[in-house]
């Protein structure tokens, strides 16, 4: 139920932002279509902890700025590697164990790795990630496991709780 309400709020907010109309009639029509969409999503069984993970929202919001800064640093490193006349690349394939408990956590970790230039996740099976790293520094950064720890912290204590709501 909590997830359905939150999905409705997000959808209505998105509708307001995209439409930019604030007349009562249009607001009502927007609300009506939001409700219909939430009902359909519920009937299709799309509203669950994985599809709409409100249980990690605020921790996730703290993670985003750190991830963005990592992406900027990695971008500059890789751009520097590419523009050098003799590219100092050293491609390697790593196998990493993600310490997250849920599949959602593993996916957040894998996607964070892919978003960071210099490392791309090419496989994820039962918590073991295959990562293609372009440079030695990028590979060593991942082996240090900073990002892994932070994603696990995002998942955090919220994972211990059982299913609730819709």
């Amino acid at each position: 139920m909590l997830q359905a309400l939150s999905l409705g709020a997000v959808l209505y907010g998105l509708w307001l932002l995209l439409s930019g109309h604030f007349e009562p009639l249009l607001l009502g029509l927007g609300l009506a279509s939001t409700i219909v969409v939430v009902l359909i999503a519920r009937r299709m069984d799309l509203i669950d902890r994985e599809g709409h993970p409100i249980h990690l929202s605020w921790r996730f919001l703290l993670y985003i700025p750190w991830l963005l800064w990592e992406i900027v640093k990695a971008n500059i490193d890789i751009a520097r590697v590419i523009v050098r006349p003799r590219m100092a690349i050293d491609p390697s394939v790593l196998r990493l164990k993600g310490t997250q408990k849920s599949e959602l956590g593993h996916v957040i970790y894998a996607n964070s790795i892919t978003l960071t230039p210099g490392t791309v996740t090419i496989g994820l099976e039962e918590g073991v990630l295959s990562v293609h790293a372009l440079t030695r520094e990028a590979a060593e950064g991942l082996i240090r496991g900073d990002m892994d720890r932070r994603v696990t912290a995002v998942e955090g204590a919220a994972d211990g709780r059982g299913e609730h709501g819709a």
Binding site: L17, I71, N75, A79, M87, V93, R95, L115, T116
Partner: protein, 119 residues
Amino acid sequence: MALLADIASWACLIAGSLFALIGAVGIVRLPDVFARMHGAGIVDTLGMGLILAGLMIHEGFTMVTVKLVLIVVFIFFASPTTTHALARAALNGGLKPLVDGKNAPSAEPGERTGGPSKT
């Protein structure tokens, strides 16, 4: 104030274009499919981000900026997915990542294949 905003906006646009260009050069210069994906990664993180940030500064606090922010959010969710799909397709098509000029053997968890860490 308007002048400052203009300068910041153009700085972001030019820096973003520069990163997009470097990413494109990377796609051409890097040796194999898997390495080239890193070049594409530059284009759709910092290249895209800086160009859209420049446009946001140009627009100020308007509805257009809200939509630009949404574009950034959606690209940040979609780009790793497409990169991953590309990597899977390459692997399934029988391509192996180049490691030290050779194709990589499979490694155990926690191990690293190729590169200077081998003793």
